[in-house]
């Protein structure tokens, strides 16, 4: 894995690795038609290598359906991977049994996109936030109650609201309840799956700021999943761009936004709305739709929509190639991998 091994030269002060993922694949079987064809499957995540360092925020971006949520759920073992391995803090958790996993679950939590379906409508806010403590048998009843009050205060909810039910709160407040629940066990890793996409623009920045404050206070590591590149630009340290189940570009935020390599990333960035109506901008409109993840295109998955494509793109899948400065891209044109291209030329000749 070039991605995992050749990571020393450029940034010597990198943190310790908290999560790493090797060759992770998740296929969902599709049963289509009357005569079930079991060979059809959705390639939700199709060979992802990734590391997340302690204390950083990794932004995971891509269109809907590109597999970013599935990747997050795989890391938490909410889905069973088809193949590949997942390490959390050096422990291979890919095949841990449920009881072994339970201990590690204290250290990894998730914040959901939809604040309406993420809270059980029949339970009080107090029991929702306190549930992780109850599940892990932490503290006495009184200690748990005190901890819940603390957590509520920390996320900006009035502790008097403990006995209320989720429907009595607004979307932003509900998202705060979800955040408090995720914090209850003092986790190291929080996967935030589009935590602000369902919120009003006016509340988004409040929740984002809250997430940033909490990160500072509790040494949290975030995997921040989003389709909104402007939010990711604000919160992330590093960004991974996904397309059809693969990471196509990965690097420090500044590199990704300012020295974009992959044409898909370029198109995404060009689609971010600019608040200045006078501003001239070069908007890239991609042709066609996202291809079906059931039968992804051959070679580079982006080639049918790419304006840079050359013959090799249709036949050979570009590896995620290190171009220096911790910047990786999978593109034959912008980040050519010498050996892959040489091998292609040999077979073509």
């Amino acid at each position: 894995m070039p991605l995992l091994s050749s990571t020393t030269s450029d940034t010597p002060n990198q943190g310790q690795v908290l999560v790493s993922v090797e060759g992770l694949v998740k296929h969902f079987p599709v049963s289509a038609g009357f005569f079930r064809r079991h060979d059809l499957k959705v390639h939700a995540v199709d060979g992802v290598d990734l590391i997340v360092r302690r204390g950083e925020t990794l932004g995971l971006v891509g269109e809907s359906g590109c597999g970013k949520t599935t990747l997050g759920r795989l890391i938490l073992r909410l889905e069973e991977p088809t193949s590949g391995r997942i390490f959390f803090d050096g422990i291979d958790i890919t095949h841990l049994r449920r009881s072994e996993m339970k201990q590690l679950r204290r250290r990894m939590q998730i914040i959901f996109q939809d604040p309406y379906s993420s809270l059980n409508p029949r339970r009080t806010v107090g029991s929702i936030i306190g549930e992780p403590l109850t599940v892990h048998g932490i503290g006495t009843r009184a200690e748990r109650r005190r901890k819940v009050a603390e957590l509520m205060e920390e996320v900006g909810l009035r502790p008097e609201y403990v006995t209320r039910y989720p429907h009595e709160f607004s979307g932003g407040q509900r998202q705060r309840i979800g955040i408090a629940r995720a914090l209850a066990l003092n986790p190291s890793l929080i996967i935030a799956d589009e935590p602000v996409s369902a919120l009003d623009v006016s509340i988004r920045s409040q929740v984002i700021n809250l997430l940033e404050d909490l990160q500072d206070r509790h040494d949290l590591t975030y995997i921040f999943i989003s389709h909104d590149l402007s939010v990711v630009e604000h919160i992330a340290d590093r960004v991974a761009v996904m397309y059809l189940g693969k990471i196509v570009e990965l690097g420090d935020k500044r590199r990704i936004y300012e020295e974009t390599l992959h044409p898909y990333t370029e198109a995404l960035i060009s689609a971010v709305p600019v608040p200045d109506p006078e501003a001239k901008r070069h908007r890239i409109i991609l042709e066609g739709d996202v291809p079906s993840p059931i039968e992804p295109p051959s070679g580079c998955r982006f080639h049918p929509r790419c304006w840079l494509r050359v013959p090799i793109c249709k036949e050979v899948e570009p590896p995620l190639n290190d171009v220096g400065h911790q910047h990786f891209a999978a593109c034959h044109v912008r980040a050519p991998h010498a050996e892959t291209i040489a091998a292609y030329q040999r077979t073509a000749a």
Partner: protein
């Protein structure tokens, strides 16, 4: 919960038919509980001097062939109908919720076995199945309750299974899993309370169906045995004399009609008020 229940109450009160149903059900309960005080005569008091009397001041709904007061027998019969309805539905709901929960939550082969079992049970025409079983175990009110219960749980199982399948994918269940909560906690604390709405509706409608089955069994003579009064066996006695004493069959028949209608209206009212989108 406060405003959830508030909304429910408000919609319920606005639904006039549901309120009629609620009134009928509450009234029936009172009649069944206070039968001793409401009935003008003991149900089995034979008065050979007043045989087949039409409705009059002394016997509001007339008397039967042994001179027993029809009104008193209907009042005492309400207890039979209600207890059969409730116990039978209790049994079928319990079986249905347990099997549906297992099926929907665990999926896989557990689901396949339970669902095939449901299909098999649904293949039997249930009334004839009940007849056959009662013929073996003998007619008694307890046997009727149990047999109705164990032959009518399939609908509830499917409902609960469907609810579990959809609620299992909701984020709050995923959150519970990601906290490391156990199966029991997830099933009983997170999924089941959110799956009970259609079960409540199905149970209310189920009481109506059970009352009807009990009446049918008693009518055929394999339910509640005379001289104990039940609306069904009163109908049987009535049909032999229908040309000379219409009141012997009409009033028990009306009692069945009103009861079944009351439960159906109430059940549909609860359904519409709990969730206007829910249709069973």
């Amino acid at each position: 919960m406060t405003t959830l229940m508030g909304d429910f109450g408000r919609r319920m009160r606005k639904n006039r038919m549901a309120m009629v149903g609620l009134f009928v059900v509450v009234a029936l309960f009172c009649v069944a509980i206070f039968a001793k005080y409401l009935a003008p005569y003991p149900p089995d008091r034979i008065d050979t001097s007043r045989i087949l009397m039409p409705p009059s001041k002394e016997n509001l709904l007339g008397t039967d062939i042994l001179g027993r007061d029809v009104l008193s027998r209907i009042i005492y019969g309400s207890g039979v109908s209600l207890s059969v309805g409730f116990v039978a539905v209790g049994i079928s709901t319990l079986i249905g919720v347990v099997l549906g929960a297992l099926s929907g939550y665990y999926g896989g082969w557990v689901d396949r076995i339970i669902m095939r079992f449901v299909d098999v049970m649904l293949c039997f025409p249930s009334f004839f199945l009940i007849l056959a079983v009662i013929a073996f175990v003998g007619p008694s009110i307890w046997n009727i309750m149990i047999v109705i219960g164990v032959t009518s749980w399939m609908g509830v199982t499917r409902l609960v299974r469907a609810e579990f399948l959809s609620i299992k994918e909701r984020d709050f269940v995923q959150a519970a899993i990601s906290q490391g909560a156990g199966d029991a906690r997830i099933i009983f604390l997170h999924i089941l309370p959110n799956a009970m709405t259609p079960v409540l509706v199905a149970a209310t409608l189920g009481v109506a169906a059970a009352v009807l089955v009990e009446s049918s069994l008693s009518f055929l003579g394999i339910g509640v045995q005379p001289p104990d009064p039940s609306w069904g066996n009163m109908l049987t006695e009535g049909k032999d004399n229908i040309e000379i004493a219409w009141w012997m069959s009409v009033f028990p028949g009306l009692a069945i009609l009103i009861t079944v209608m009351g439960y159906n209206l109430l059940g549909e009212g609860i359904r519409d008020s709990l969730d206007p989108r829910l249709k069973i």
